[in-house]
Structure formats: C-alpha cells, structure tokens
Amino acid sequence: MVQDRYDIVVIGAGPAGSVAARFAAENGASVLMLERDREPGIPVRCAEGVSHNGIAPFIDVDQRWIANRIDVAKLHSPNGETANMYNNGLGYVLERRVFDTALCELAAKHGAHLITKADALDLMWENGKITGVKYKYSGEIRSVKCDIVIGADGVESRVGRWAGIKTAVRLEDIDTCAQHTLTDIDIEKDTCEFYFGTKVSPGGYIWIFPKSDNTANVGIGLSGHLSHPKGPKTYLDEFVQKRFPNAKITYTMYGGVPTAATLNEIVKDNIMLVGDAARQVNPITGGGVVQAMIAASIAGKVAAQAVKEKRFDVKFLKEYRKEWDKRLGKTQKTMFLMKEKFINMKDERFNRIVEFCQKIPRDKFSLKALFTEAVKGDPKLMMAVAKAFIVSKIKMK
C-alpha cells in the first residue's frame, strides 16, 4: 500500500530513478517512485546501446533484456570510407522495455514502492522548504510528504525548475533525434555502425544498432542549432531510403538528448537531480543510461545517509555532487569540450580521421586513439582526452 509519507520520493522510473530508489532503499530509507507513464521504459526513446562494463555493476545481466551482443564499431566517413574498431569491449543492444522494468523490480525487491500513471505536478513547500510532491493519479490530485525529492524525470525535467534550478539548455546542447526500428535489412549482427558528415547528420551522427541479424535501431541525432528547418526525420528518411530501400519499419520514435555539461546545481535543500534531468549524458556519444545509473547510485546512497543523519540541507547532499565529479566529472567535462569541436567539424576533418583510423593496427584501435586523432592540433584538448581515458581506465579496474 502507498503511504502518505516517505523519506524519499523519486520522480521518474527510468534507469536514473529506479537505481536511485534501489540504492536509497537498500541503505535503509523508505522510498516511493512516481512514474508518469503506464509502464516503466515505455515508450522507448533510446538507441539502446550500452557497454557490458557500464551496466554490470548495477544489475545481473539477463538475456530477457538483451537483444544482441556487439563486438565491432564501424565508422563511415562522409566520402564513403570505413574503419572498424574492435577494442571497446563487449556491448549490448538492450530491450529497454524489459530492462527498465527489471531495474524497477530490483528497487522493489529492496523495499521501494512504485506507482505508475502517477504524474508529478509540483513540489509542496512549507516555510520555504520542500516538504513533498503533488501528483495526479487516476484523475485525482494527491500529495505525498517526504524529506528528499529526487528528480529523475528525464530530458523534459521540470522538477529542477520547480526548485528554482536553471535546467534549460542551449540549442547547441541538445541533440534532436529520430529513430526507426527496421526489419528485413542486410546488416552485420555484431557490428554497430556510425555515419558522420554535414550532409548526413549536421552536428551529430546516424547510428545503426543491430537487434538481430535482420533488425536494427537506425537513428539520427542532430545538434539543435543545426537542425532547423529540415529536422532529423527528413535526414533519417533520406538515409534509410539510400542504405535500406527495402526495409520495413516496426517502430518509430522521436526524442531529445541533452549534450550539455552537467548542471551547475544538481542539489539544493531537500532535492537532488539525476540522469538526463541533471544533464549527465555523455555529451559526445549521447549515451546516458550508464551515466544515469552511476549518478543515481551515488545520489541514492547519499540520500539514505541524509535520512539516517536527518540532514537534508544542500551542504550535506552536496556529497553526491562531489562524488559524481570524482567519478565522472572530469571525463564529462572533456567530452563536452570535444563535443563543442565536434558539432562544427567539417567533412574533410571526418574524412581525415577515418583515413587515419584505417592505418591504426587492429589491436591498437580504440576510442582513445580515435578521440586523440579527432582533437589533433589542439594540444590542451589532447592532454584532457588522454587524462580522461587514464582516469576511466583506473576506475574500470
């Protein structure tokens, strides 16, 4: 049964929300998750690619939510050349429909409560302090009291705005995306593919993430400042028409990916933001699932500790910010600087990068080599990339 008071209310039951709820509940807090839609994970707005190393710390890998395994990344330059990358570790294409529910089940197993079709409307305040959440459920306005609100409400987040946090991003800092799931197509099952170039996908890229030997998520992300007036759907349809003229579409979706740096403010008195809501996506790849889970695990633990010590002030909750910066802050910052370059890169540059990649021996070709080449001519950024990769390598171990 739903209580009218919890230690923590989490708004949004995607990976960010459910992992935050799980870690908070596991560490002794009472937690309620509010999910606006009828089911977590639906509608899917995701390319569904993740690395094994990224998700394994948070949930036992289960074939129920893995569509396919990926070993190779193929890069396509604007002039039609390709380079294959083999050393990025095992990747998966998920079934987010199943994955998100599995994460919620894990949170529930640790004691968190969940309500679906519960649309958060506003924060409740008393004497200038956040004291709960107002939400709509079955056409009825309800309220729930709590000491901490965790906003995990995605790219369209409003929780932060309610608390007076500046969450709006610049057009340069959002990718506007379209994706078809295609079937009856000719692809290599173990290979994800990326197409770059100002004519194909200005300021972004097209991806092909195979879900089986003849189906794939085929999508596009354009930098928000270069998208208008054509928009991602037109670019994507042109690409599909050329590369997969006989494809059939089984699913189409649209969405936005924040490629901003993490917000300056991700905590305030009685409130924390996680995942897309906190703009914690990798700005260059647009990947956000793993970043969200890392942030949420930290936030959940800090929130539970706050409950134990009855300290809900920003000073205490800031521990989450500190830990996030330690874990991923530097990498995110470097990726953001790279993105600033990337969104205005010329086709010749992409051509040269892929040409360079073709010459790297197979066993030496990794993301680091790629990024290092991409920032050539900018020694400061090169150093930052090298450092970011050293840091992430240490953390992997």
């Binding site: 839609d37 969450t167 709006a168 057009l171 506007t176 379209a178 928009g231 936005g256």
Partner: protein, 56 residues
Amino acid sequence: MKINRELCDICGTCVAVCPVDAIIVSEFRVDIDNEKCTNCLNCLKVCPIKAIEEDE
C-alpha cells in the same frame, strides 16, 4: 506557439530548451502556456517532428 497534436510524439525535447518553463508534458499531451511564452522559437527549432508552429 501552437502544437500540432496530429504530429506531436510527446517526447519532451521542447521542454529542455524552453528558457521560461512555459511547456508542460503529461502522459498524453504537451501544452504551451502562451502567457509565459516569449516566442524565442527554441522549441520550434528543436522539435524532431516539426509539430510546433508559430501563432498567426
């Protein structure tokens, strides 16, 4: 600003770029509060399906 509900996929991309918190997404619809809206056109520019139009 005006939303073409036939096109809108309720993805929420517009909300992230709204500088004045004039856009609300619920499970089945997106609403723009034209009292708050400053006509900056950010939402129109990033909408992936071009479902946002200027008022005449």
